[in-house]
């Protein structure tokens, strides 16, 4: 049998295949995990899904901070000294095998008593015996089977999370009451149709009060519990002098309840309890539908979600100690291990620093630093351990300072009037004036009917269908976009998106793709032999530029070099027989530093003769020019980049002439730029990706984060767009505009129902049964209209 992929993780095994137990593995790590599973009779793991695993990482010392009892206490959900419960976030959870293996942890270690996976949230809740297994050991155990938990500063500050389930309770109660009230009101409806002689059926006459009071009893919790939010919101609206949609709803609910109660007390009729409970039920259903949440995404992340909790401090006598990140003080000496995040601004003292700032800038190319250089918070160390001296505490570091800006404290949703509330202002005024005019009329004609008519108008005008249009339209659009990998935070984002007139893009990582760079060669052509030596030389180097260059060169036989040397921060050299090759920076190959080009370049010399250079250009996402050309007709476009102007020429060639290009923008500059445009009346859409865009994303009307892997990383924003769908952005904006049109149409539709209802109400003939038919009919037809229309509109998306 021929194997090409690792039995455990599915990676290609051609480089270093390890055969064990008749299966091939890509590395020792994967083999070890398989050994653990087979020793514990857990190989069923591989049956559920093919190659489900991940290679365990080397975490020597990384979790030492879990020995600190103060940190442990903050992470635990429950602790009585003996039994401890902890919920850990594990990004690797992705298939049914993951659920199975994590829920069978007790077979690997008997001290684990229960482990429950929440697949949507990608976390596992583990109950274990702390005397036999410490939290640190548990984390190491999870890592050893390829499920490394992700513990960030976020876990530390939020503590135990409270889950809000009140909407489900409210919906459940309203639905329960609605069903029962409907049953109880049926006898009287049948009576209405069967008997036209005026003599009521005897038994019904006798039990009428019982049925009516039961309906009353069912309605009480609906009015006082389920519809609570409508009263609160209406009250808040009135206090800030805004007639929002909840004002007529609250008015309708209270009039329905009060009038119905009086009717049954004075035995005038059966009341409108069925309409009342139905109304609240449908309204809450709309709210529930709109509340589509993506549990696997987070729109609220700030730097805390990425920063570690604990860090190793080196005390003057050379011993190491784990301390909390918040306890770091200026002047402390810290040890940053391989793959660890630098939490504060600091100066490199010892070791080789190769820093990945992709969290911060979106730039995936790593930066080499030498001792004495300043390192900024947010970078990830990639080459072994380094020692650093702290310059600033966590909150005062260059990156984290951004979060002290006021933008992060204002809630965007609240500062914005939705289309529904906009229209309801007029609606409420019109309804109230109709009510008062007709009441005045009836007072003159037949005063006994006046109160009846007044309340009927308020009941029938209760904008149920109105209030349902937006939630159902937006809820459905949210789902359609979600399927196309465009994830919105909430429904109001759709409305905001439709109003955009300015679009601002970040450069690195947003319009450029992270993974591939374009490399161009300038200079004397290399001979085949030289190219072969070059490729063999590059093979030995781990530097990211060498790796990218190695990948683009044509296949050659691998030559065994006679000598190979790496000069840190300068370049590499290789010797094969008589030929000598040098690859690296300009001074390294014996040329003056070239200041004309700002792009990264690698210079080559062969046998001390300069040959040429490879220049690295950013590779732009596919469909970029096309997207910009579509957008330029309708929007002002701008690009704000934190980088230098090296790409300016390239960009002007690619993009429409009108596009503004700004370089060397600091995070605060981006924020201020957007603020300035907003003060001039622009509605700004910001598209960004790194933590350095966080301020701009928060300040803009809509902030979209582009993400190559939606499960891993994105700063706080209003929407997350999968990078592969970047070229569809214009279609998404168009769909949001269509959805507003759909809402306007359904407003028109519900207005027709209101007019019909008002006819009955104004003429004083609104019977409970008419309300009970009209109300659900209008709601259901609105819901089906919006669902149908949005699905048709959504079909146009690719």
């Amino acid at each position: 049998m021929e194997h090409h992929s690792c039995f455990h993780c599915g990676l290609d095994t051609k480089d270093s295949e390890i055969i064990f137990d008749g299966k091939s593995f890509c590395c020792n790590g994967c083999k070890t995990v398989y050994e653990i599973f087979s020793a514990n009779d857990l190989t069923c793991y591989y049956d559920l899904q093919q190659a489900p695993g991940a290679t365990p990482k080397d975490i020597e010392g990384k979790y030492n901070f879990l020995e600190n009892p103060k940190i442990i206490e903050q992470l635990l959900e429950f602790n009585d000294g003996n039994t401890q419960i902890v919920t850990l976030y594990i990004p690797h959870i992705h298939c049914s095998s993951c659920i199975w293996i994590l829920e069978n942890l007790n077979k690997i270690h008997p001290s684990v008593s229960v482990s429950i996976v929440n697949f949507g949230k990608k976390n596992v809740r583990i109950t274990y015996n702390a005397e036999l297994l410490s939290l640190k050991d548990l984390v190491i155990l999870l890592n050893s089977i390829g499920y490394e938990p992700f513990i960030s500063l976020d876990d530390y500050s939020t503590g135990k999370k409270h889950i809000d389930r009140s909407l489900i309770y409210k919906l459940g109660i309203a639905g329960f009451a609605f069903g029962n009230v409907m049953f109880l009101s049926f006898p009287e409806y049948f009576d209405l149709f069967t008997n036209k002689t005026g003599i009521n059926e005897f038994w019904l006459e006798q039990y009428k009060p019982l049925f009516r009071w039961l309906m009353f009893a069912f309605s009480v919790p609906v009015v006082f519990y389920s519809s609570q939010e409508y009263f609160i919101s209406a009250f808040k609206g009135l206090r800030s002098k805004i007639l929002n949609i909840d004002v007529p709803i609250a008015l309708g609910i209270s009039v329905l309840f009060i009038r119905s109660t009086f009717e049954i007390i004075f035995n005038h009729g059966s009341g409108f309890f069925d309409s009342l409970t139905g109304l609240v039920f449908f309204l809450l259903l709309g709210r529930f539908f709109q509340q589509k949440t993506y549990t696997f995404l987070s729109f609220e992340r700030d730097y805390k979600s990425y920063f570690p909790i604990g860090i190793t401090k080196i005390i003057s006598d050379g011993t190491e100690e784990s301390i909390q990140v918040y306890d770091i003080e200026k002047g402390d000496r810290l040890l940053i291990r391989n793959e660890e995040l630098i939490p504060v601004d600091c100066i490199l003292i010892k070791g080789n620093a190769r820093i990945d700032y992709s969290f911060v800038t979106g730039e995936s190319k790593t930066v080499i630093k030498n001792s004495g250089d300043k390192l900024f918070a947010g970078g990830k160390q990639l080459d072994g351990s380094i020692e650093v001296d702290v310059l600033k505490s966590v909150e005062q570091s260059y990156l984290t300072q951004l979060w002290s800006n006021d933008v992060f404290k204002t809630d965007k949703e609240k500062t914005f009037t939705s289309i529904t509330n906009n229209i309801s202002q007029y609606f409420t005024v019109v309804v109230l004036s109709i009510a008062f005019i007709t009441t005045a009329y009836w007072l003159l004609v037949d005063s006994s009917k006046a109160l009846n008519v007044f309340t009927s108008i308020l009941i029938i005008a209760c904008p149920c269908a109105f209030a349902l249009s937006a939630p159902f339209t937006f809820g459905n659009i949210l789902r359609i976009l979600g399927k196309k990998k465009f994830y919105l935070k909430n429904a109001s984002v759709i409305e905001q998106l439709a109003k955009i007139n300015t679009i601002i893009f970040d450069k690195t990582g947003t319009i450029t793709a992270n993974k591939d760079t374009q490399i161009e060669y300038e200079g004397v052509a290399l001979s085949t032999e030289e190219e072969a030596i070059l490729k063999s030389t590059l093979r030995g180097s781990n530097h990211p530029l060498s790796r990218s260059l190695y990948n683009i060169l044509d296949e050659h036989d691998i030559l065994t070099l006679d000598s190979y040397e790496e000069y840190l921060g300068e370049g590499i050299s290789g010797q094969y027989k008589q030929s000598h090759i040098k690859v690296g920076s300009a001074p390294f190959v014996g040329r003056a530093t070239d200041t004309a080009t700002l792009n990264t370049s690698v210079h080559i010399s062969s046998n001390n003769a300069y040959k040429g250079k490879f220049t690295f250009y950013n590779a732009y996402r596919k469909g970029l020019s096309q997207l910009f050309n579509q957008l330029k007709k309708h929007y002002d476009l701008a690009i704000l980049s934190g980088d230098n102007e090296g790409e300016k020429e390239n960009l002007t060639k690619l993009l429409p002439a009108k596009t503004k290009l700004l370089f060397n923008q600091k995070p605060e500059d981006k924020l201020e730029y957007i603020k300035y445009h907003q003060s001039e009346g622009a509605h700004v859409l910001m598209v960004g990706d790194g933590l350095n865009d966080a301020g701009a994303l928060a300040q803009s009307n809509v902030g979209i984060a582009i993400s190559e892997n939606v499960n891993v990383f994105s700063p706080a924003c209003d929407a997350i767009l999968d990078a592969s769908k970047f070229d569809q952005l214009y279609q998404f904006i168009k769909l949001s505009k269509t959805s507003l049109k759909i809402i306007k149409w359904s407003f028109a539709l519900s207005f027709i129902y209101n007019v019909v209802g008002l006819y009955f109400a104004v003429t004083g003939q609104l019977a409970p049964v008419v309300a009970a038919i009209l109300m659900p009919l209008s709601s259901i037809s609105i819901v089906s209209f919006t669902t149908l229309a949005t699905n048709v509109a959504g079909r146009k998306l690719k």
Binding site: K23, D41, T43, I99, W100, G120, R165, G172, F176, L214
Partner: protein, 61 residues
């Protein structure tokens, strides 16, 4: 005729029992995660029939 009282009482009691069951289910977090249980449910059968070595062989073919 007063049988209606008994019927109403019974029907309401039944309704309330289901209602309480619903509230308890929400309270116990059954509505928090609507995906994992659907997967977990299928595992029990796998465990009963578990024959690790044989099943791995079939997977590889």
């Amino acid at each position: 005729m007063s049988v209606i009282y008994i019927l109403l009482t019974i029907s309401i009691i039944v309704a309330v029992i289901f209602f309480i069951a619903f509230i308890l289910a929400v309270k116990n977090g059954q509505y928090d995660d609507s995906y994992t249980p659907s997967v977990r449910m299928l595992f029990e059968d796998e465990l009963v029939k578990e024959k690790p070595n044989k099943s791995i062989q079939t997977k590889q073919d």
